[in-house]
């Protein structure tokens, strides 16, 4: 059934989108920083997975537990050493700064890895499962499950750990958090580190599904933007809602008016939401 296939594809893609966006959403929601390096970090994670498979035949699922701490440290240091300095600067400065950092990272990747598109194909290929005429490739399915697991882990972290509660506190009311004894600078660095870890891990998973090249970093970033605006900032449920909505709109739109207009459609949706509901489906008003 075509409709069912479209829906299932959208659900799978939606979870992947949510995984791409959740790190970005966390950083934006907690630090009020639009992290333009996000897309490049995802690509870096993808290269990591590809490199591991090419040179050591290690499958991406085994790269994942390594990627998380590595990228966390990367993000933590980036925040602590550089971004902390412009934390209270206007949005102009932080956007331009992260743009500059993205130029550096992106250029470095093109320099070392060249811009050619790589593909990570598992040998032997994992095939696909079929249920009631709906087909889903197995590797994409596993990636989706892992993506959901990651977002679930983040949710548990934010809900049940001290660090997580502190992050939420800072997001809700920074000044009150300071009064409660939260070391905000440290929380900022941790949140950014988590954001980077999620981005890198998302990249590892994306390596299986999408072609890998530094040139794709802006399309990941665009997706993350749209998901955040649609779903709302700083929350796991927001990222999931936004991801699913975007994937559904794209899927149904593609089927109805053709794939060429799918990107235009997502941009248009972005602008509509910005104008009429900037806090997104599940967000709270006032996060400028």
């Amino acid at each position: 059934m075509l409709a069912a296939q479209i829906i299932i594809n959208a659900l799978v893609l939606g979870c992947l989108y949510a995984c791409i966006a959740i790190g970005f959403s966390l950083v934006w929601g907690v630090l009020n920083v639009i992290n333009l390096i996000h897309g490049s970090i995802i690509v870096l994670g993808a290269y990591l997975a590809w490199g591991a498979y090419q040179s050591m035949a290690i499958s991406p699922w085994y790269v994942l537990p390594v990627a998380v701490p590595v990228f966390f440290v990367f993000g933590y240091l980036l925040q602590r050493l550089l971004l902390n300095r412009v934390l209270h600067a206007p949005v102009l400065v932080t956007l331009t700064l992260t743009f500059g950092l993205d130029l550096i990272l992106n250029n470095a990747m093109i320099y070392f890895f060249k811009a050619d598109y790589r593909k990570l194909t598992l040998k032997p290929p994992m095939g696909s499962v079929s249920l009631f005429h709906v087909v889903v490739p197995v590797d994409r399915l596993i990636a989706t499950v892992l993506a959901l697991a990651l977002t679930g882990l983040l949710y548990l972290l934010l809900r049940h750990s001290r660090v997580g509660r502190a992050i939420v506190a800072v997001r809700l009311d920074r000044d009150a958090a300071i009064l409660m004894g939260v070391d905000v600078r440290s929380i900022y660095a941790i949140a950014f580190g988590i954001g980077a870890a999620l981005a890198g891990s998302a990249g590892v998973l994306m390596a299986l599904i999408f072609p890998i090249s530094a040139l794709t970093s802006s399309s990941y970033l665009d997706k993350a933007f749209v998901v955040c605006v649609l779903g709302g900032l700083g929350s796991v449920s927001g990222a999931l809602a936004g991801g699913l909505l975007l994937a559904l709109v794209e899927g149904i739109g593609s089927a109805a008016i053709g794939p060429a207009y799918a990107t235009t459609l997502s941009f248009a949706l972005l602008i509509v939401f910005l104008l009429f509901r900037p806090q997104g489906l599940l967000g709270r008003k006032g996060f400028e």
Partner: protein
């Protein structure tokens, strides 16, 4: 007239003498310098004066490039095509502005950024009109030699820069400029004293777009071939911001100096480190923002302040 604005006009007057001392290469650089200065000065109106961090510059640059390209292909003379692009973009930006400028801070920045993507996709898809992804060929406007061609476009871009500078100077002395500065400081209070903030912001957005579009149009005529990812490039939105930050936010003289300085740096890096030139740009941006958040103008003030203290 303020001293800084007078200095700006003097700088521009000196620049006009470039064809007397330089050959085709210098003229090419000079034309780019003028173009960058137009972008930076224009951005300063909405970003520096009004305080709205717009990332839409590339959207209007591309709009102007394509509007002019299409009109030139239809047989219209260059001046008319550029003028049409200028007026069309002013109206378009004014309309879009009245809607987008309701957003503040981050949301406005992102909305303006998405404008670039939306226009790029629209142009990409309108293949019959614009050639889509295959690009648009633009008829040559000046026949003769390379040098004559280079001189023509240099003076054309210089003239546009002069017009932009005069516009900006006029604004800074006018009620509009005063109102924009009020809006930047406290938009609620501005509304409370009877200032129609939406109108003022829309006009500012329109003015920040129209000369950018004209510059885009000249660029298209100059290079004879454009494609969507070339002119709707986010860098055309970010570079003017970096230039203005380099020179000092809010100051027209600073914006122009920042633009010239940036061009020199860009050319030096391109000639010597082409493979890593965007990385070097990134390093420049990071260094600038972390070390000199108030631009080069702040250096001058600090020196003067130290002198004054010793008196």
């Amino acid at each position: 007239m303020k001293r800084a604005n007078l200095a700006l006009l003097i700088v521009l007057a000196c620049l006009a003498a470039l064809p007397l001392v330089g050959g085709a290469y210098a003229l090419r650089l000079g034309t780019m310098a003028c173009m960058y200065a137009i972008l930076a000065l224009s951005w300063n109106v909405v970003g520096g004066l009004a305080g709205y961090p717009s990332f839409a510059t590339a959207a209007f640059f591309g709009f102007g490039a394509y509007a002019t390209g299409v009109l030139l292909n239809a047989g219209l003379p260059l001046t008319m095509s550029i003028l049409a692009a200028l007026l069309g973009s002013f109206v378009l930006a004014g309309l879009l502005g009245s809607v987008l400028l309701r957003l503040r801070g981050h949301y406005f920045a992102i909305a303006s950024l998405s404008l670039v993507g939306v226009l790029r996709e629209l142009v990409n898809n309108a293949t019959d009109l614009t050639g889509g992804g295959m690009g648009l060929n633009i008829p040559l406007v000046s026949g003769s030699s390379i040098l004559a061609d280079a001189t023509f476009f240099f003076y054309a871009m210089w003239g546009l820069l002069l017009a932009t500078a005069l516009m900006v100077i006029a604004i800074s002395a006018s009620k509009l400029g005063f109102g924009l500065v009020c809006i930047r400081q406290n938009e609620t209070a501005a509304n409370m004293i009877g200032l129609n903030a939406t109108l003022y912001k829309s006009i500012a957005f329109g003015l920040s777009a129209c000369f950018v579009a004209a510059a885009g149009g000249l660029y298209a005529a100059w290079v004879h071939y454009i494609d969507p990812s070339d002119v709707f490039d986010i860098l055309y939105s970010v570079k003017p911001i970096v230039m203005t930050l380099m020179g000092g936010l809010g100051s027209p003289l600073g914006a122009v100096c920042g633009a010239f300085l940036y061009l020199v740096l860009e050319e030096v890096v391109w000639r010597n480190y082409i493979q890593i030139h965007s990385g070097v740009l990134g390093v420049l941006i990071v260094a600038l923002l972390l070390l000199l958040p108030h631009g080069l103008i702040s250096l001058r003030f600090r020196k003067l302040w130290r002198k004054a203290k010793h008196v």
